[in-house]
Symmetry: C2
Subunit: 287 residues, 2 copies
C-alpha cells in the first residue's frame, strides 16, 4: 500500500481525499493544514500531495523531498515550470525522492495529450481552448479588488486558443459598480483579454466548479496533410485536479522504488505508472 498524506485542505485537498479513498493500492495517512508540515513528516508518508496555493510549492516541497518523501503539486504558472524543475532536481537527488510538478490537468494531463498529438502531427498548428468554466486564479484576482463582495470569473473560449472572460460580481455597500468594474478591467489578470463584468444579486446562486477544455491539432503526418486530432473534456475542476495528482502519486512511488530520483513533469511519466494494475493487466486492458 502506498502511504499518502494531503497537505492543504481546500477544494483540491478535499477532492484528492476522495480519490485516495477510492484507490485500492493507497492508504491515506492523514490530512494536514499548511501549518502542520512537521506532522506530515511524522506520519511517514511515501508521497505528500501539496494542495496548498501554487506560489507555495517552492517553499514546501524541499521540506519533504529532503526527507525522502515524494511530492506532487499542481503548480500552474506555465512560464515558471521549467525553473521550478531545475530548482527541485538536486533536492530530489539528495533526498532520494521524486517530485512530480504541475500534475493537475493543465498543466498536467493536457500536457501529455499535447505531446502525443505533436508526436503524431509534428508539423502543424495546435490550440488549447479552455472553458466555458470557472477560472480559479481570475476569481481570486477579482475578489481581491476593493469593493468586490463576491466574484466568479468564467473563461469563455473564443476559438484558436483565444479566450474571453465574464466576471460576475456582488459589490460591497457604498461602492459604485462602474468604478469597481473599471478597477477589475485595469487589473493585470484581466487587462489582456476581452472581459465583461456583470453585477448579479448572488454569486453563490450561479457558482460552478464545472470546466472544460478542447485541445486541437491539425497538420501533417510525414508529408500527408489534413490530419485532425481533437481532445475534449467536460469535467469538475477540483475533482479532476485531485484525481490526476493522486494518479501521479502512484507514478512517483514507483519511480522512487526504481531509484529514478528527480523532479519530473507529466510528459516525463510513463502512462502505465498512473494506473493501479500490474504490467500484464495494464497492457491487456489498455494497449
Amino acid at each position: 500500500m502506498i502511504k499518502i498524506a494531503i497537505f492543504g485542505y481546500g477544494n483540491i485537498g478535499h477532492a484528492a481525499e476522495a480519490a485516495i479513498r477510492k484507490a485500492q493500492d493507497m492508504t491515506l495517512v492523514g490530512v494536514f493544514h499548511h501549518d502542520e508540515a512537521d506532522r506530515v513528516i511524522a506520519s511517514e508518508p511515501d508521497v505528500v500531495l501539496l494542495c496548498t496555493p501554487t506560489r507555495e510549492v517552492q517553499e514546501w516541497a524541499p521540506l519533504f523531498l529532503n526527507k525522502g518523501i515524494c511530492t506532487i503539486d499542481s503548480f500552474d504558472i506555465h512560464g515558471e515550470i521549467y525553473p521550478l524543475a531545475e530548482n527541485l532536481t538536486p533536492i530530489c537527488r539528495e533526498g532520494k525522492a521524486v517530485a512530480i510538478i504541475s500534475a493537475g490537468w493543465d498543466p498536467g494531463s493536457d500536457s501529455m495529450i499535447r505531446a502525443i498529438m505533436t508526436a503524431l502531427v509534428p508539423e502543424g498548428v495546435g490550440y488549447t481552448n479552455f472553458g466555458p468554466g470557472r477560472s480559479m486564479g481570475h476569481t481570486v484576482a477579482a475578489k481581491a479588488i476593493a469593493g468586490v463582495k463576491d466574484a466568479l470569473s468564467m473563461t469563455l473560449p473564443a476559438g484558436k486558443g483565444k479566450h474571453n472572460r465574464h466576471v460576475y460580481i456582488e459589490i460591497e455597500e457604498g461602492y459604485d459598480f462602474e468604478q469597481v468594474k473599471a478597477a477589475i478591467l485595469r487589473d493585470d489578470y484581466f487587462a489582456h483579454d476581452d472581459t465583461e463584468v456583470e453585477l448579479v444579486p448572488s454569486v453563490a446562486a450561479i457558482n460552478t466548479t464545472n470546466h472544460g477544455v478542447h485541445i486541437e491539432r491539425n497538420g501533417l503526418s510525414g508529408d500527408t496533410p489534413d490530419e485532425q486530432i481533437d481532445f475534449t473534456m467536460r469535467i469538475n475542476n477540483p475533482a479532476l485536479t485531485g484525481q490526476m495528482m493522486t494518479s501521479c502519486a502512484r507514478a512517483a512511488y514507483r519511480m522512487r522504488q526504481r531509484a529514478e530520483w528527480g523532479c519530473f513533469t507529466t510528459i516525463e511519466l510513463r502512462p502505465i505508472d498512473l494506473l493501479p494494475w500490474e504490467r500484464e493487466k495494464a497492457i491487456r486492458e489498455m494497449v
Copy 2:
C-alpha cells in the same frame, strides 16, 4: 543523428520514409525489402522500422535485436501483444536493444490516450469507436475470397464500441455475386459483425486510406460523477502509422542510450521521448 532503416516497403514503409525525411534528428540509412535482412544489419542502423506484415514481427525482430539494433513495429493483434512482449524481452536484454511493439495508432497512440483517460477517470466506462474508414485487415480478408477481384472493407462505428462493416467488391467473371457475398459473410473476419456487401463497378474509384477514431470515457474522478472525456481523430491510416512508428524510433534510441533495454508497449513510453526537442524546450512548449 539517429540512423533509421525501413524494412518492408508497402503503404506503411512509404509513409515512414516521408516521416523520417522530415525529422531533423534522423538519417534514413536505407529502405529494404523483406528478403534483405542481412543488408539492413550491414547498414548499421540504430533503429529498424518493421513495416512487414504483423504476423512476421516475431520472426524478424529477434534478428535485429540480437545485434543491438532497436525495432519498432505496428503489431496489431490485441490479444497477442503481451505474449509478444514476453517473448522479445529476454532477446532485447541479451542484445542490449529496445523493441517498441504495437507502435501504430491503435494499438499505439490510442493506447496511451486510453491509459491517461483511465488515470483521470478510474471508475467509469470507455469505448473506442473506429471509423468510418478502411480496415486494412478486413480488406485483405475480403480480397482472399474466391471470385473477389477487388475489395474495400469499411469499418462504420455503430456506437458504444460496436461496429458495422460495409464491403465494396468487384467480382471475377463467371462468379455469382450472391454466392461470393455468402462466402464473405461466412468468413470469420465478418461473421461476428453486422456486414453489408455491395457490388460496385470499380473499387479503385472509391478507394480511401482515410480513417478515424473516437475514444470516449465517462465516469468518476474521485467521487465526482459525470466527468466526460473524448478523443477524436480524422487521419490517413498509413501516414499516421508511419509517423507514430518514426516518433517511437526516437524513444527507442534514447532508451537504448539510457541502457533501458527491453521490450515495451507505448503506454510504457514517456511522451517527451517522442519529441525531437531537448528537455527544456519540450517542457516549455508542451507542459
